[in-house]
């Protein structure tokens, strides 16, 4: 290899006059790398960092009907969180909604993980041929419109829906069940369905990476299937489980489509309140403050979760 390259480059036709900048790029590989990366980074900075910075700035301003007063104030945060320290006139609704959203998302995450793990295990260990076919099979339903997918759950859980008409024709119930739709449980079911494929893939990848000889060694040394799973497969798949969990938990906290369509009044989440501040309620600064609070709350939960997981893993060693 080196031989061939050496022979071919030896004529050294570098006679052209390189400018200083060109020479700098030729000499430093990292500079060429960053030059190549810079357009993408520019998009990220302009379309993500700058807007989020503006959002943070907004959260310290005030809405005066149609205009925005740009003097610095913490009033929005006091309105959002003031109930915690008993600030005057602060309503508990924002904190409660945030807490409820966290609970629902946590429930969704746990449900999807429990449902997805056996499937990922099956895919990694039992399927020998056409793994891609199975992966495609689980991802196709998720390529249909998200809105229509949520809507189909209304058909299933609704007053004249699949479950009610099915149970009624079987004679199990005489009146349609009304508790199926428009509550937090409906939100949980629909979200768990919507995020299923996202949960499977990271777990599958981590299981697929496990060196099979470790499992063989455990069997040779006398471990039964359950001990082997508990001592080898499970610990090695934990990173995938964590990745899946975060991938599901983080976006679902802020979801407002599912709660709006199937949640009813009880199933409202923090995303709906934030959205209404940019719509009917027309209080952009308060909406900004609420979304910043939500982002910080999610970050704190994620960090605590990762910290606890790292403690557990250190102890296991």
């Amino acid at each position: 290899m080196a031989d061939r390259a050496g022979v071919l480059t030896s004529p050294a036709p570098i006679v052209r006059q390189d400018s200083r900048i060109q020479r700098f790029f030729l000499r430093h590989e990292w500079a060429r790398g960053y030059a190549l990366l810079s357009p993408t980074l520019a998009v990220m900075v302009l379309a993500m960092c700058l807007p989020v910075f503006m959002l943070a700035a907004h959260s310290f301003w005030t809405q005066n009907y149609l205009t925005i007063d740009e003097t610095f104030t913490l009033a929005n945060y006091e309105q959002a969180l003031g109930w915690l320290w008993g600030a005057e006139g602060a309503k508990p609704i924002y904190i409660r909604l945030l807490w409820k959203s966290m609970q629902i998302s946590f429930g969704v995450t746990v449900t999807t993980l429990i449902l997805a793990y056996p499937f990922a295990y099956f895919l990694a260990f039992k399927v020998r041929r056409n793994k891609n076919l199975w992966i495609i099979l689980i991802s196709v339903p998720f390529l249909t419109s998200y809105l229509l997918r949520v809507f189909t759950w209304k058909i299933i859980l609704g007053f004249n829906g699949v479950i009610n008409s099915g149970l009624m024709s079987l004679g199990i119930i005489s009146e349609p069940l009304e508790f199926l739709l428009y509550n937090p449980t409906a939100v949980l079911i629909v979200l768990a369905h919507a995020w299923a494929a996202f949960a499977i893939l990271p777990i599958y990848v981590s299981l697929e990476k496990i060196d099979r000889s470790l499992l063989e060694a455990a069997t040779d040394l006398g471990d039964g299937p359950f001990r082997r799973f508990w001592r080898i497969t499970w610990p090695l798949s934990v990173p995938g489980v964590i990745a899946s969990g975060l991938l599901v938990f983080i976006p679902t906290v802020g979801d407002y489509v599912t709660p709006k369509l199937v949640g009813g009044t009880e199933g409202i989440m923090i995303g709906n309140i934030i959205q209404s501040q940019f719509g009917k309620a027309n209080n952009w600064p308060l909406g900004s403050a609420l979304s910043i609070v939500m982002a910080i709350a999610i970050t704190i939960v994620v960090l605590i979760f990762l910290y606890v997981m790292s403690l557990g893993r250190v102890r296991a060693k």
Partner: protein
């Protein structure tokens, strides 16, 4: 027979069989049920799109093509479809280009801070969509831009670039770097090498990235909801129709069509991917 960890073993003895156990046990049953759980709800779309009743509820009445006819006549729906295709087309090309640049930098250059940069580019995957949406709305408003398909497009590029980059990184890692080096050593400049060596070899990845990002943009609702001006994309149109029961069946008809087209596209993508791996393996290995 055995392809994985024991590939290098000289003897016939295959311990992985012992570990893997029987194939069609309860896990297989579970997997089939799981697939059913994933598929049953979306399959109500085609069912009700042919149902001869304006109410999307049981019992099923009769068979009709009426909703497809209404769909073809609905100008609002067709406009929205056209807008979505337009945005999706631009977004998939732009985000694949940005993803390609980033993937090339990530796989072919050693540079400090590569890991943090990759995480930074992947941030839109873990930031809730609602935050990105209102942040862009606030910025657009502050700068004094009009909300339009352009603002929707920018937000879609933002969330599509990470996907494009991930797909292309895995593709670029899949073939030998020395092919590009050989081209450069033979005196072809970097730009020509990129077009004549890298792009053809990465083509399956590029096509996969274009399709994936198009589908993401085509179905994206949360960002578009905040950033749409007078012209709406298809998900926004569907959202507005969910409140009017009379319009729903034609929306379901459209959903069925989209589902069918998507399935065909996925099948084509898989076919291309298989051909791609089949043709590049001899050169890479």
């Amino acid at each position: 027979m055995s392809t994985r960890a024991d590939a290098g073993q000289p003897v016939e003895y295959s311990p992985s069989k012992v570990v893997e156990g029987n194939r069609y046990g309860w896990l297989f049953v579970y997997a089939v049920l799981y697939i059913a759980f994933l598929y049953v709800p979306p399959l109500f779309l085609p069912l009700f799109s042919f149902n001869d009743s304006i109410y999307v509820a049981f019992p099923i009445k009769g068979f009709t093509f009426e909703w497809y006819r209404q769909m073809a006549k609905s100008t609002g729906l067709l406009d929205a479809l056209y807008n979505s295709l337009k945005v999706g087309a631009v977004v998939c090309l732009a985000s694949t280009l940005f993803g390609m640049l980033a993937a090339k930098a990530m796989t072919r250059y050693t540079m400090p801070g590569k890991g943090p940069m990759a995480s930074f580019i992947m941030l839109p995957l873990v930031v809730p969509g609602i935050i990105l949406g209102i942040a862009l709305l606030v910025l657009t408003n502050q700068v004094g831009l009009e909300l339009s398909l352009f603002t929707i497009g920018v937000s879609h590029v933002l969330i599509c670039v990470p996907f494009g980059m991930l797909v292309l990184i895995s593709r670029l890692e899949g073939f030998d770097k020395s092919l590009e080096e050989a081209s450069l050593d033979l005196g072809v400049n970097a730009w020509k090498t990129f077009w004549r060596v890298t792009v053809p070899l990465a083509l399956p990845g590029i096509i996969a990235s274009i399709m994936l990002t198009f589908l993401i943009s085509f179905d994206e609702f949360i960002l578009a909801f905040f950033l749409a001006g007078n012209e709406v994309t298809l998900p926004i149109y569907i959202w507005s129709q969910l409140r009017f029961p009379a319009k729903l069946p034609s929306v379901l008809a459209l959903g069925t069509l989209i589902l069918t087209v998507t399935m065909v596209l996925v099948a084509v993508a898989e076919w291309i991917r298989r051909r791609g791996t089949a043709t590049t393996k001899p050169t890479a290995g």
